[in-house]
């Protein structure tokens, strides 16, 4: 099963090239939040995405394009890039699998504020009620690109994006589809930002995954979409292949709603499952893109899982978390990090996390801290969600 198209939007910008440049350098993209009032929050920084004034031409009428909310715009940019790169044609039965945590939450917030502040004014409220829902955003993508099929929306918190790709992989593997557009997205929303701030999970100083003195995550926004299809279909079309998705593991951690098991049992099981399905060993893996949020509990749990899973190979296994650069994209994180893995395979470099000063001694693996070239054939990406959803994706370079 291969990826023939990838689209990505982060605080680096929109598109493969600008993102590859940023990830390769390990440039951090955080700045003061401008989308909503954070003056009374503990933290005021996030990785906001600068969106272009105009969206690429699609089948959507101009009137509809002008009314798209921020999440839909981010999603459309990523989907359009993946679709165009894959060279797919409009299809009648093409599934769309999306992962998100909050869909168009910004519209939901606006609905609430208007309902409270102007209870007798209903102008625009039906549109907000409709468009904040993720299925509306999914329909926008289908309409824009001209395809039709089931829309599946997975909301497994911060593992949603990885689960969406995994679900698409399962569907193709079992013969239920031969090509699927899949990915994840989330736009910055005040409720979510304030939620992590209320949990004191946001770092006041900056995200430093796996640093001994890490003190929290940073929030970002963005999306990534991939065009996933059978190798046979891609070969017949003569499509350019960005990489192969060869394994997927999905497990559940019942330890706590917001805290992973200290030993990372579910994370370990997800990595083992993905490797077993792909019939590869940890020693075959050349790079791990960790979930690595920068919170004390997530990183120690994930490090423990990677240590146990990799065994003696851990000592030479490069690991990094790109959340150090673009923040935690929540429902978009797993999909964006999957595209980072494709970049690693295509361009043969490792994405550093330059914010780490003192690696946590729990990490028995080397953290990638400087931009570097590398030979990578197999890379693995972890995602760990609120509530305990764990997902691992395994990619292979296509010769």
């Amino acid at each position: 099963m291969v990826v023939t198209g990838a689209g990505i939007v982060t605080a680096y910008g929109s598109g493969w090239r600008v993102n590859a440049h940023g990830f390769r350098a390990g440039r951090t993209a955080f700045r003061p939040v401008t989308l909503f009032d954070v003056s009374r929050q503990r933290s005021q920084m996030a990785a906001e995405a600068d969106l272009p004034d105009t969206l690429p031409p699609t089948r959507l009428p101009a009137r509809q394009v002008n009314r798209l909310d921020r999440a839909s715009r981010i999603l459309l940019l990523a989907a359009h890039e993946a679709w165009r790169q894959a060279g797919w044609e409009p299809a009648e039965n093409l599934p769309l699998v999306l992962g998100t945590t909050s869909g168009g939450m910004v519209l939901g917030e606006e609905y609430f504020k208007r309902a409270v502040s102007f209870p007798r004014s209903h102008r625009g409220q039906p549109t907000r009620a409709l468009h904040y829902q993720p299925q509306t955003q999914g329909r926008v993508i289908a309409e824009a690109l001209g395809f039709c099929g089931p829309i599946i929306i997975i909301a497994n918190a911060c593992a949603s994006g990885a689960n969406a790709l995994g679900q698409a992989w399962e569907m193709i593997r079992s013969g239920r589809a031969d090509h699927i557009l899949a990915g994840g997205y989330d736009a910055l929303a005040q409720l979510v930002f304030a939620g992590f701030d209320a949990l004191q999970a946001i770092s006041p100083g900056g995200c430093r995954p796996f640093d001994a003195h890490r003190d929290g995550l940073s929030i970002g926004e963005g999306a990534a979409m991939v065009a996933l299809e059978t190798l046979d279909l891609a070969s017949r079309r003569g499509a350019e292949i960005l990489g192969e998705l060869i394994g997927y593991g999905s497990t559940m951690d019942c330890h706590h709603l917001t805290q992973p098991h200290p030993e990372g049992q579910a994370g370990l099981a997800a990595m083992q499952c993905a490797c077993e399905v792909a019939q590869v060993n940890p020693a075959d893996i050349d790079y791990v893109n960790a979930h690595g949020t920068g919170t004390p509990l997530n990183d120690s749990s994930e490090a423990a899982a990677i240590n146990r899973w990799a065994g003696s190979h851990a000592a030479t296994l490069p690991v990094s978390s790109t959340k150090a650069d673009i923040g935690h994209l929540l429902g978009g994180a797993g999909a964006v990090e999957a595209v980072v893995c494709l970049m690693v395979l295509r361009e043969q470099w490792l994405p550093p996390e330059t914010t780490v000063e003192t690696p946590d001694p729990i990490c028995r693996f080397p953290l990638v801290r400087q931009p570097s070239d590398a030979q990578c054939e197999l890379v693995l990406s972890n995602s760990i969600g609120f509530g305990g959803a764990n997902a691992t994706l395994l990619f292979r370079r296509h010769p």
């Binding site: 304030a194 939620g195 209320a198 949990l199 999905s250 019942c254 917001t258 509530g387 959803a389």
Partner: protein, 341 residues
Amino acid sequence: MNRVFVSGLGAVSPAGWGVPALRAALAAGEPLPLRRIERPGWDRPINARFVPDPSPRPAFLAHARLRRASPLTHYVAAAALEALGHISSNPARLSRLGLIVCLQSGCVQYSCRFYKEVLEAPATASPLLFPETVFAAPASHLAALLGDVSLVTTLVGDPALFLQGVALVADWLVEGRVDFGLVVGAEEANWLRADAIWHFDHGCVPSAGAGCVCLSLDGAASIGVELSALTDVQTYLSSRSRSHAAQLMRQQLSTGSVNELLCDGLQGCRRLDAPELAAWQSWPGPRLSPKRVLGEGLMAASGWQCVAACDALAHGDFTGATLSLVGCNQQAIGARFVRLS
């Protein structure tokens, strides 16, 4: 080809906690009493149907993970445990259990409370509330309550999504990834959700609860009901209206007979009901419309429809039951269940 059987049913609704309460309310056929919702800044009444407090309070609600959880989680857990029945006390079987929770609005009560706190004083917004607002929270709590569940996912969409959940669990079963699979549809009600629904039809009565089916390939564990057909997903597009999608869904299902029940989503709202009414106007057999009695429970209502259809078959009232789910803004999907002879 593998056969997929219904192994258990569970429901929480304005009729009460449990399938017997749902069955009794639907048999009576009378719309349940309404309760007025206070909407901030507006004295025009919005009516809704709420889930009554359980009496006696179920013991599982004392579980550490459920004490502070939202009503939504309580409904999900109650419906799932009822559907699991005796399986829930068998750890070996639970370890091969899959769980899908389907939601449209999700945890609106805590979301409203938390966002109100954020707007008023973000520095003191409750860290206890926020995690419960996440779509995945009910599934997480239920998995913890059950102890060891192998596959868990939360799906979001319009109410017809419930049958996408059924299809996904059926795939898990056929692929041998689980032995039993739960599909739970659930919602809770509050003023904001009622306000949103009001914009689309002033006569629509929001309600809350959950409906759950447990599926397996083990005919011996079934309640005497088999899933015999699932239609394609008919997604709404500018070129495919809700009415057109409902017609396409209907064309893939049985023509019906006097011994076959149609369990539909009609609720007495002319505009919302029109596509489904048109699609099924030639149905020759009996019909059951749970929303007319219970209200618009969105994903919960889809669960109730599925539970009501299967329950009627299990009690030998009909030989087959067709389920029509015409969602509000995403898709139409239908299914057919049959009674095992």
